[in-house]
């Protein structure tokens, strides 16, 4: 339960995103002009890899069924029926950290 360094996440370009791993858990880091954002790497809908999708600085889009979310809040928009969960982030000395207590899980990961 701590801030965890996401190595090389600072190199993610503006309006882009990339998948990383923290303690064996996939983390998606996206960046826009206001900063860095972190989410579970898989779509809440059908566990597609979000890193195959797009980030335009406002929205994150999953390529599987074009579900979309506000990248700053994780709130669903358009056809998406569920929010994406977010991890708090901070920048320090040019590095990106996320607040990682435990893996965020969606309903398909229950039981």
């Amino acid at each position: 339960m701590t801030w965890k360094l996401v190595k090389d996440a600072h190199a993610v370009l503006e309006n882009d995103m990339k998948e990383f791993e923290i303690d064996g858990v996939g983390i998606l880091i996206a960046r826009n002009a206001s900063g860095f954002y972190a989410y579970p790497a898989l779509c809440p809908h059908m566990e597609a890899q979000l890193s195959f999708g797009t980030c335009d600085g406002k929205l994150i889009t999953c390529m599987q069924h074009l579900w979309q979310w506000d990248m700053e809040t994780g709130e669903p928009t358009g056809m998406a029926e569920e929010a994406i969960k977010t991890y708090p982030t901070k920048e320090e000395d040019g590095q990106i950290y996320i607040w990682f207590e435990q893996e965020h899980k969606y309903s398909y990961m229950e039981d």
């Binding site: 809908h45 059908m46 566990e47 195959f52 797009t54 335009d56 889009t61 390529m63 069924h65 074009l66 579900w67 979309q68 358009g78 056809m79 029926e81 569920e82 398909y108 990961m109 229950e110 039981d111």
Partner: protein
């Protein structure tokens, strides 16, 4: 089908979604999706064949029989009580007459009888190779079918478990037709396509459930159309843009149809594209994108009204759009990497809302 004679009794199914509960009857061995749709229960679905996962429901009480447990849409770690409506039948003895399911999405609405799909007996009338491991298949049905441009059928082959989805490759006439056309790509080791590619396929009998699918041309959409079709996605392109052509859409709106091929091939569909170009007039631009580098179409291969360009389908589409991005509706069908590349251009470059992009999601 899979249920033994002793279990042959219908089960009452209640499916609860956001918009309420729909009640219908499932026959022995019948998939819950077919049972729901033929009785007008408006359950969510897209591919109908176990890939997309949109019809995933949760079993609240009663039991289901899973016809294809390895369906990709079950994912790696699905719950034991998850059920894909397209891959499950109601298990008669375990249900004491009823089965209760819930859905993440909408359901509960009952659609009017005129629009409900059903089962058809089908016979293979004709099979013609059209190159690139593609064949054109003409089927005769036991009665006429009417469908919207872009819809598909689920086809059941003798001795093969589960339905295979194929788009109709031509728009349906207003009066309906007892013949349907498909474009099928050979999938090595795929039993359904091997069946159709076998020499003795003409004359054989199949069953079909349809019409299905929401990725359709809406004559009232009031938008310019862009359609990118690769591989057997050609059938979807022919149907959507053919339907728009028949509806006179391109006399008032612009359209671009990009057909992605690897190289010039023995394309009987070329004649269909030429005919479409002639009927549609200058409002519709039809472009064949050849992705293999350095391919030059042989003399006489082209037809009037159909352009040929070098490059990947998504690049050719991007060039052809020439910055004209407003008021567009996009239709995409083909191999997944092509679909994703096209979606990327439409979302990031053309800034199209995701709701204006309709994809054929099975492949």
């Amino acid at each position: 089908m899979l249920t033994s004679a002793a279990n042959r009794q219908a089960v009452t199914v209640n499916v609860t979604g956001r918009s309420g509960t729909a009640t219908f009857t499932a026959a022995p061995g019948e998939t819950l999706l077919e049972a729901a749709l033929r009785q007008g229960a408006d359950v969510p679905y897209s591919c109908g064949s176990g890939s997309c996962g949109l019809c995933k429901a949760r079993v609240i009480s009663g039991r289901v029989e899973t016809l294809w447990p390895e369906a990709p849409a079950y994912g790696k770690k699905h719950r034991a009580d998850d059920a894909l409506l397209c891959q499950c039948a109601a298990e008669a003895p375990g249900n004491h007459g009823t089965l209760e399911l819930t859905l993440g999405g909408a359901s509960g609405a009952i659609s009017p009888p005129g629009t409900r799909p059903g089962r058809f007996d089908a016979r293979v009338l004709r099979i013609d190779p059209i190159g690139d491991d593609l064949i054109e298949v003409e089927l005769g049905l036991d009665r006429p079918i009417r469908y919207a441009a872009g819809q598909f059928g689920l086809f059941y082959f003798p001795g093969i478990v589960g339905g295979r989805a194929f788009s109709f490759a031509a728009p349906s006439p207003d009066t309906g037709s007892d013949r349907v056309l498909l474009v099928v790509k050979r999938k090595l080791g795929g039993p359904a396509t091997e069946f159709l590619f076998a020499r003795n396929a003409p004359g054989s009998r199949l069953e079909m459930f349809g019409p299905l699918g929401h990725a359709i041309f809406d004559p009232g959409c009031g938008r310019d159309l862009i359609c990118v079709a690769g591989g057997s996605g050609l059938s979807f392109g022919l149907s959507v843009m053919g339907g728009a052509t028949l509806a006179g859409h391109f006399s008032t709106h612009r359209g671009i149809l990009v057909v992605g091929l690897r190289r010039p091939s023995d394309l009987a569909s070329l004649a269909r594209l030429g005919a479409m170009a002639e009927t549609a007039g200058p409002g519709l631009r039809i472009i064949i994108a050849l992705s293999d580098e350095g391919t030059v179409p042989p003399e006489g291969w082209t037809v009037p009204g159909v352009e040929v360009m070098q490059g990947f389908a998504h690049d050719v589409m991007h060039t052809a759009m020439a910055g004209h991005h407003a008021n567009l509706m996009a239709y995409v069908a083909g191999p997944p990497p092509m679909i994703q590349a096209v979606q990327r251009v439409l979302l990031l470059e053309a800034k199209l809302p995701a709701g204006n992009i309709l994809c054929d999601t099975f492949y």
